[in-house]
């Protein structure tokens, strides 16, 4: 509950540096060096904007397999990031392929001393600012040179202005219980000894207690807690024909005490392991075109993936002459005011949403990475796209942040992501009736069966090797953002009987499909996930993660294409797996 405000919020009125007591040595050190660094001058360029960020915290990571602990590690960090902008808000050293390139030796500490006092922090900021400033001046001149030979299609400013905010919140002093975490992963991972078909499995626990410090020359200063706890269960098996299969579970919370109990997780693991075991003997699916019911988790996953990755407009950087860098646009680009969903659906992005117990949802936050306080935004209203998610980077058609800078982006900008996406339907029916509606639809269309998807692989649990193969094949799907593979797919026959199938993927599934939603359930599912800047939000990838929630009903889609990719299957191992030893 500590993500609520304990500190002072001295909103919109511009706060001149030096006037307010910040009562924090890191923030005070930032303020002193910000002020001093504005005097930097080289080749006629002075900084017009400097920003300091420090992430400080402690991480506990541990994992186990079949009851044996693989690793347990506690690490402390205090990582600074410095951004210097030279030029002006209209034209500066960012949004260019050279942005972020820094040459020369680094003399500031990469990981600040944990015990550093204000004086030491100033020493580090001094050296880091010097290095970033020199790079910024060089980048700006390279950018000017590059533009001499190019006609820009549209002129956008480089940085949006923003009123300053001061927000100093208390950080938590959670004690981590490494022993308990170790025992927990050992015990939970040992559950898989009862499932001989599951060949590889792992339970991973990660607890991060941290704080983010921010200061800029516009007078924005903040200190906010950023705690995240994740418990992840992964399992892999081989189908009877040798195809690799996998499934996973994730549990997230801001505080360790708010994770589900061991009993609840145990039940979930047994259910997942049982389903994965059954999947080994399930028949392969066939190419399908027709109505698909995305049930519970799968519906929230699909919406989270489709909306999450497509609501931030994309800006391509100024590039070297003759070597243009064109980033793929978002699938909603230019669709503002257009109908993107049926009229009975509304989507809101609400950073302050709470769950049934009154706790903030996992995507909640107080202030974004650029020091902008977010507001609740209507995204889709009666099926019409109303808002995009914006950072301080001006993009085509938009200038001015709505506080959605949630992950570091490229070329000096940050990436926009949703907080808590709340999908609400006006006319709903019960889930059982939704399934009946699916059956009715297939009967009307003379289909032998319909499809229910209960889980997709988002965020993706693929291994790095598999991810590489996937990325290539999913890219050909038609949209600019690939859609994950389905993990739990069932055929539903006209008599209501269900049959689990495997080996399916979506074909050509893009945000266009959202317009063809036929109906929604009255029951909703709340999905918590960790987003990162990787395609498919690949688990464990990327240095930065941020929480996100999706609350959505189950959805019946009118028509979706699915097929079975041609894949080479590895031959079965020559040696059978070692038998489980009860004394193990």
């Amino acid at each position: 509950m500590k993500r609520r405000t304990f500190g002072l919020l001295l909103g919109a009125a511009a706060v001149a540096p030096g006037q307010t007591k910040l009562n924090d040595p890191i923030l005070e050190a930032m303020r002193s060096e910000l002020e001093r660094s504005l005097k930097l001058r080289l080749a006629g360029e002075t900084p017009y904007y400097i920003q300091y960020v420090v992430e400080q915290g402690t991480n506990l990571n541990c994992s186990a397999t079949l009851g044996g602990l693989l690793i347990s590690r506690i690490s402390n960090y205090r990582l600074p990031r410095v951004q210097v902008r030279v030029g002006s808000y209209e034209f500066d050293n960012t949004n260019c392929v050279y942005t972020g390139m820094v040459r020369g030796a680094r003399f500031d500490n990469e990981n600040w001393p944990l015990e550093a006092d204000e004086n030491q922090i100033r020493q580090d900021l001094w050296l880091a600012t010097d290095r970033s400033y020199k790079a910024a001046v060089e980048t700006l001149s390279l950018k000017r040179a590059a533009l001499k030979n190019v006609n820009q299609a549209e002129k956008l400013n480089d940085f949006a202005k923003q009123a300053p905010v001061v927000k100093v919140l208390l950080l938590s002093k959670n004690k981590m219980d490494e022993k308990r975490a170790n025992e927990r992963v050992r015990t939970l991972s040992a559950l898989f000894t009862a499932y001989p078909k599951i060949l590889d499995s792992r339970v991973e626990y990660e607890e991060g207690v941290s704080g983010s410090y921010f200061g800029n020359t516009e007078g924005t200063f903040f200190r906010i807690p950023e705690n995240i706890v994740t418990l992840r269960v992964r399992a892999e098996a081989l189908a009877d024909d040798g195809s690799p299969l996998r499934d996973y579970l994730t549990f997230h919370a801001f505080e360790a005490v708010n994770l589900p109990s061991d009993a609840e997780i145990t039940t979930a693991i047994h259910a997942m392991a049982t389903r994965l075991t059954a999947l080994c003997a399930a028949p392969l699916g066939e190419a399908y075109n027709g109505p698909v019911l995305f049930e519970g988790e799968a519906s929230a996953q699909l919406l989270g993936q489709m909306l999450g990755g497509n609501l931030g407009p994309v800006r391509s950087p100024v590039s070297e002459p003759g070597r243009p860098v064109n980033l793929p646009p978002s699938d909603f680009e230019g669709r503002l005011g257009a109908r993107v969903m049926p009229e009975f659906l509304d989507v809101t992005d609400d950073p302050f949403a709470k769950d049934a117990k009154g706790r903030p949802l996992f995507g909640s936050y107080e202030i974004d990475m650029e020091g902008v306080v977010p507001q609740t935004l209507p995204i889709v209203s009666q099926g019409t796209l109303k808002n995009m998610l914006l950072t301080r980077q001006p993009v085509r058609g938009f200038e001015g942040s709505n506080g959605r800078a949630r992950l570091p982006g490229s070329f000096g900008a940050n990436a926009a992501l949703p907080s808590n996406l709340l999908v609400k339907a006006k006319d709903t029916i019960e889930l059982a009736a939704l399934k009946a509606k699916l059956i009715d639809t297939i009967k009307q269309r003379n289909k032998p069966y319909g499809i229910i998807v209960r889980k997709i692989d988002f965020p993706s649990s693929a291994s790095v090797a598999e991810f590489r193969r996937l990325a290539a094949s999913l890219q050909s799907g038609g949209g600019n953002r690939p859609i994950s593979l389905p993990l739990a797919v069932y055929r539903v026959y006209p008599d209501g009987r269900e049959e689990m199938i495997r080996g399916m993927r979506f074909r050509g599934l893009t945000v266009r499909a959202l317009r063809d939603i036929l109906a929604a359930s009255s029951e909703t599912y709340t999905l918590d996930l960790l987003a990162n800047s990787f395609p498919l939000a690949l688990m464990g990838a990327g240095g930065f993660v941020t929480g996100m929630s999706v609350v959505a009903p189950s959805l019946l889609f009118d028509e979706i294409d699915m097929d079975r990719p041609q894949e080479e299957r590895p031959s079965a191992p020559v040696v059978p797996p070692p038998p489980i030893e009860s004394a193990g």
């Binding site: 347990s72 001393p113 030491q120 050296l127 040696v575 070692p578």
Partner: protein
């Protein structure tokens, strides 16, 4: 999946200090000779490894095509404590424990198997998987089985490729096979406990690092303390069963700054010991910190070196690195049969390769020399072959090479130098390199000889290389057969009695064969250089022990220089900035 090790062709990039090494905290394997506790029955991990090995080997032999003829499992367990202090403050304090598995599986026959080097393709099968820290049979065996399956698939595939590859059929110069026989060894020793009171060491490191704050011109500095315990467990299908290990401790002191003309300068010193309790007193470490700081201060003011060819003395430590680079890497056995290698010495066995007063021995059984604990010792190499003394050069004559179980023409058996970092494949590597001399003079006399040589050559000065940070060399045929040694502290020595003058920005460059011929005398005091050596099989701890060398000719080139200026604003002080 590939490994992050050096690409092929491999420049052997050593950073003996380990400061910038990509593998800073890697294997160290040695044991105390002081009555090691000997376990009677096989430790649990040995039993688990052996039983899973038998199960896999038996099944693969009866059902696998091709069938394996050899299987080995190696588990490396590391407990590492690292703490760093800077300017009197603790910067980080970490401890970690890990176990990794390496699988070696050979299909085909010892004459031709899946490890045969073909073209530029260096075979890598193992991947150093993370293994359960608990001796939990279910957790361990499952991973061992999965990795064995993966390695077996890759090994069979490669053997098939080799057999159909034309290059193998071309008559190779070296007709030796791929794997040599070795005796089975059974030995279980308990690795000494690591006694490391992190809080106590943090306090000491804070105090030591604080001394740097007296030197305003130093931009960054740190003192790092590392304490490690490493246990290796090894089983193979020939009956070898081993468990052995060592503890290890190190202090790294470093400082960096930028000269007014933009040149980046760094000085450093390391202190190594078998165990944290054997690290030196506060007084000795403080003296080292002061040397590092004063050397850097001196360098910041020193003139830049001019390209120079002339006589020089290399201190014992500098000479050790010189030998490690220009000699040691060229007598690693596998390079003698690799057609891509320069093979500087391949045909020189029983011929002169060094001046006749010099000998070079590799001896992984020596634990301490010149009052310094050595890095490069171990009881068994990573193929389970017992360590032994190997005289490589006697009175200037090359006698043998460093050998793993990969045989080369004329040398059919391993001499205990097959080494690797966990996760890499084994090749022959150096251990403790010891330079012996029958033409040694007291160090003061060596200086007199240098001055004589300067005068004789009519040079304005000679050079004295006091300390070096490391070096690298290229042994491949495609590259230049050359080396670079990177000195930290170099003085000009004048023949007219003027005091020695510190210079900056020098790199020693040269070609191996030409360089050896220029060594004319040595000092009589041995010095030790401990560090990590990086090559195909990863980073392994090594030592180089040598007396000072007098060389009649050495070539020095200017170091690459940064064009970046020193910081534009002055150092922040308590009084500037916003006044509150």
């Amino acid at each position: 999946m590939g490994h992050g090790f050096l690409p092929d062709p491999h420049p052997l990039h050593d950073n003996l200090l380990g400061v910038r090494s990509p593998f800073p905290f890697v294997p160290v394997a040695l044991i105390f000779a002081i009555l090691p506790a000997v376990a009677q029955s096989p430790p649990p991990l040995v039993q688990i490894l052996a039983s899973e090995m038998e199960r896999n080997f038996t099944a693969l032999k009866s059902k696998g095509d091709p069938a394996p003829y050899f299987l080995a499992y190696s588990v490396t367990q590391q407990e590492t404590n690292v703490l760093t202090a800077t300017s009197g403050m603790l910067a980080s304090k970490d401890s970690s424990k890990s176990r990794s598995l390496d699988v070696t599986l050979r299909v085909g026959s010892p004459q031709l198997d899946n490890y045969r080097r073909v073209g530029r393709n260096f075979a890598t099968f193992t991947n150093g998987s993370m293994l359960s820290l608990d001796d939990n049979a279910n957790a361990l065996k499952r991973r061992i089985w999965m990795d064995t399956d993966g390695v077996y698939r890759a090994a069979s595939q490669r053997l098939l490729n080799i057999r159909t590859n034309k290059e193998v059929k071309v008559e190779a110069t070296d007709q030796s096979g791929d794997f040599s026989p070795s005796e089975a060894v059974v030995s279980y020793k308990i690795t000494p406990e690591l006694r490391f009171d992190a809080d106590k060491w943090a306090g000491r490191a804070r105090q030591w690092s604080k001394r740097f704050t007296q030197y305003q011109e130093i931009l960054s500095s740190s003192v790092t303390v590392i304490a490690q315990r490493e246990t290796k467990t090894f089983v193979n299908t020939e009956g070898t069963r081993l468990q052995h290990g060592r503890t290890y401790a190190r202090i790294l002191i470093s400082a960096r700054s930028k000269a007014a003309d933009g040149m980046d300068l760094a000085t450093s010193e390391t202190i190594e010991a078998d165990d944290p309790s054997r690290l030196p007193s506060d007084k000795a470490v403080e003296a080292a910190v002061d040397r590092v700081a004063k050397d850097l201060r001196g360098l910041l003011r020193a003139p830049e070196v001019d390209p120079f060819v002339g006589p020089a003395i290399l201190s014992g430590r500098a000479a050790g690195v010189f030998f490690h680079e220009i000699f040691g890497h060229r007598i690693e056995g596998h390079r003698q049969k690799d057609e891509n290698e320069g093979q500087t010495f391949t045909k020189s066995v029983n011929g002169p390769v060094l001046p006749s007063f010099l000998s070079v021995t590799f001896d992984p059984t020596v634990k301490r020399m010149a009052e310094t604990d050595l890095y490069g010792w171990y009881d068994f190499d990573d193929e389970g072959v017992a360590a032994r003394r190997v005289p490589v050069v006697e009175e200037g004559i090359l006698k043998t090479f460093l050998l793993s179980r990969s045989p080369i023409a004329g040398f059919a058996k391993s001499n205990g130098h097959g080494r690797r970092q966990a996760g890499a494949e084994i090749v022959s590597r150096q251990s403790n390199l010891i330079v012996g001399s029958s033409n040694s003079v007291p160090d003061a006399k060596l200086r007199d000889l240098l001055i004589e040589e300067i005068k004789k050559q009519g040079k304005p000065y000679g050079l004295f290389f006091e300390s070096v940070t490391g070096g690298f060399t290229t042994t491949g045929r495609a590259g230049l057969q050359a080396f670079t040694v990177i000195p930290l502290v170099v003085y000009r020595v004048y023949p007219d009695g003027r005091p020695d003058e510190l210079v900056r920005g020098a790199d020693i460059v040269g070609t191996p064969l030409a360089s050896f011929a220029k060594i004319v005398a040595t000092g009589n005091q041995l010095q030790v250089f401990n560090g990590y050596c990086g090559a195909e099989s990863g980073s392994v701890p090594v030592s180089a022990i040598s007396p000072a060398l007098l060389v009649t000719e050495i070539e020095v080139q200017k170091k690459n220089r940064s064009q970046e200026r020193p910081p534009l604003l002055g150092r922040p002080t308590q009084t500037d900035g916003s006044d509150r």
